[in-house]
């Protein structure tokens, strides 16, 4: 199948002003500033097929949003190239963005004082959405996201979850081929998160929409994505399926112990290095065990482990 998104050897550097503490330095700062170069994105390449859902994760400041900005046509790369659906985003902005939708989790595009429907109307004119498509989408989305009740209430009176759903609809009314979600579930409660996840999956399955989203919530990743791209310090450090990364960790077991004296202990063992029966033997030999449970490594933990760069077994392979 043809690639929807092709990113090759993309680089992006920033000049950052250095600020120093203290009164003397503040005065000096008035006249002269020091700069340093920050490599926000440092030689990143990947391709994404039509209809894929890709989770794009990394610690804060890893270069996620810079990458998303380059994909959505907001920034030129310093080096390398981006080609999406036949367009070069940053060169053919107006043409290209007709095909994409962007949801910024922390930056609402809704008018704070007016009902959602007014902001949606504005989108209709901005994207020149034909009336029948507009009505069809609006009807379908509001039903799926359970929004009929608050469509006519001023946005400022809505809960965060309701507002987020409004933002998602506003970004998707024109039926984009590609959608970027930037932390769409941030700060939401479990129910709202679930609604949004279901909706994202539905959009993907029904319309074959290509979806890229960034998040800090690993539940999002597990429940929505097939594929995961991890970047850290501007470099891509993992690109593959969720299952794959989990498989690599299956040998890592967390063992919870409750000892006779009531102490609780949490231990991590690698069964590829030491067979399970030997581990058990050691545990029972050295401790008075009252209760024991063995758990798989949670995806959260795996990711944390990767970020920390102290990967217990993956460091060399990733």
């Amino acid at each position: 199948m043809e690639h929807m998104i092709e990113v090759s050897h993309v680089k992006r550097y920033y000049k950052v002003a250095k600020r120093e503490q203290g009164m003397g330095n503040s005065i000096r700062h008035l006249f002269k500033r020091k700069y340093e170069i920050k490599r926000a994105v440092d030689d990143v390449s990947f391709t994404i097929k039509k209809g894929e859902i890709v989770g794009f994760i990394g610690p804060n400041g890893a270069g996620k949003s810079t990458t998303v900005k380059m994909l959505s046509g907001i920034l030129y790369p310093d080096d390398g190239s981006v080609k999406i659906d036949g367009f070069i985003p940053y060169k053919q902005r107006k043409q290209y963005v007709k095909n994409i939708g962007v949801v910024f989790g922390q930056k609402s595009q809704l008018n704070w004082d007016l009902p959602l429907i007014e902001s949606f109307e504005l989108m209709r004119y901005i994207y020149k959405i034909p009336m029948d498509l507009y009505e069809e989408n609006l009807h379908q989305f509001t039903e799926l996201l359970d929004m009929e009740d608050f469509l006519y209430q001023p946005v400022r009176q809505l809960s965060l979850g309701q507002r987020m759903r409004g933002d998602i609809v506003a970004a998707l009314l024109h039926s984009p081929k590609i959608v970027f979600f930037d932390e769409p579930t941030i700060g939401l409660d479990v129910v709202a998160k679930e609604k949004i996840r279901n909706f994202i999956r539905y959009m993907n399955q029904k319309n074959d929409t290509t979806i890229i989203f960034t998040t800090h919530d690993m539940q999002d990743i597990e429940k929505i994505c097939e594929r995961l791209i991890i970047i850290d310090s501007g470099k891509k450090i993992y690109d593959g399926s969720i299952q794959d990364i989990k498989n690599r960790y299956t040998s890592i077991k967390n063992i919870k112990l409750i000892l006779e004296d009531g102490r609780k202990e949490m231990r991590t063992y690698d069964t590829s290095k030491k067979p399970m029966n030997q581990i058990m033997e050691e545990i029972f030999r050295e401790n008075q065990v009252k209760d024991i449970s063995i758990c798989e490594t949670e995806i959260d933990e795996i990711i944390r482990d990767i970020y920390e760069g102290s990967s217990r077994i993956l460091s060399s392979e990733l």
Partner: protein
């Protein structure tokens, strides 16, 4: 006391971060003064003295009153913002007085503007315009003292208006209208010597004269000896009256906040 000094210094220091702001603020003040000097130069034309007031005195009035009014500005939406977002209740939990903290931060900002906006503008203005020297060294000292009292009068009026945000949806409109009154009636836009007589009498019954006009008159030596003392007592009187008024509003406002839970 140390804590509040710290607040003021912190604010002072924070203002230094934006270097553009620093240069521009000074030019801003300079230009504002220049506009009015030009207007009055044109109004005077060839006349040298009008109603016993020379152009030089008018220039002095503008440099001091208008210059300081530029420096003595601060965020007057501060209390409203704190009330609207509910963070004012957090302020009550801190072991410092909210009012004093507000005052010290505003003073810190004012001080920054006096040092980095007003003084340079003053020096530059003197390069192209003749202004009167202070009548005597004592007058200068008293003027500075009276200027600080003037600041308190200005601040307390603002404080009173700001407390109304406990009741009103927005005080922006009222703050704006209040500032028009202050700008016109305190003599920073129109030297009070030239006010029509009935207006002048009215103004002398308000605190506005105490803000800039009293220091200007002390500087020029229009007040001397006992008169200086009297004028400063009037300033102190206004400070007391305004402080008590402000306190009533503040207490009522806090009570309302506590009762209604914000």
């Amino acid at each position: 006391m140390r804590t509040y000094l710290e607040f003021a210094l912190k604010k002072f220091q924070n203002k230094m971060v934006y270097r553009l702001d620093f240069f521009m603020g000074m030019i801003n003040t300079l230009i504002t003064i220049a506009v009015y000097l030009c207007i009055y130069k044109a109004l005077y034309g060839n006349a040298s003295v009008i109603d016993g007031v020379t152009y030089k005195m008018v220039a002095t009035n503008f440099v001091i009153a208008l210059g300081l009014s530029q420096a003595f500005t601060f965020n007057e939406m501060f209390m409203q913002d704190k009330i609207k977002d509910g963070s004012i209740t957090n302020e009550f939990l801190k072991p410092v007085s909210f009012k004093l903290r507000m005052l010290s931060e505003n003073i810190g900002e004012g001080l920054f503007k006096v040092v980095f906006h007003f003084f340079p503008a003053l020096i530059l203005t003197c390069l192209y315009t003749d202004i009167c020297m202070p009548k005597s060294f004592a007058n200068l000292v008293f003027m500075l003292l009276s200027m600080m009292l003037g600041y308190l009068v200005l601040w307390l009026i603002s404080f009173i208006v700001q407390t109304w945000s406990f009741w009103l949806f927005s005080v922006w409109g009222i703050v704006t209208i209040k500032n028009v009154f202050i700008n016109i009636l305190s003599g920073s836009l129109l030297p009070l010597w030239f006010m029509p007589r009935p207006l002048k009498t009215m103004i002398s019954c308000t605190p506005f004269e105490s803000i800039y006009f009293t220091p200007v008159r002390i500087y020029l030596g229009q007040l001397s000896g006992m008169d200086i003392f009297k004028a400063m007592m009037i300033q102190c009187g206004w400070i007391l009256v305004l402080y008590l008024t402000g306190n009533i509003f503040w207490k009522q406002g806090v009570k309302k906040l506590v009762v209604q839970g914000g």
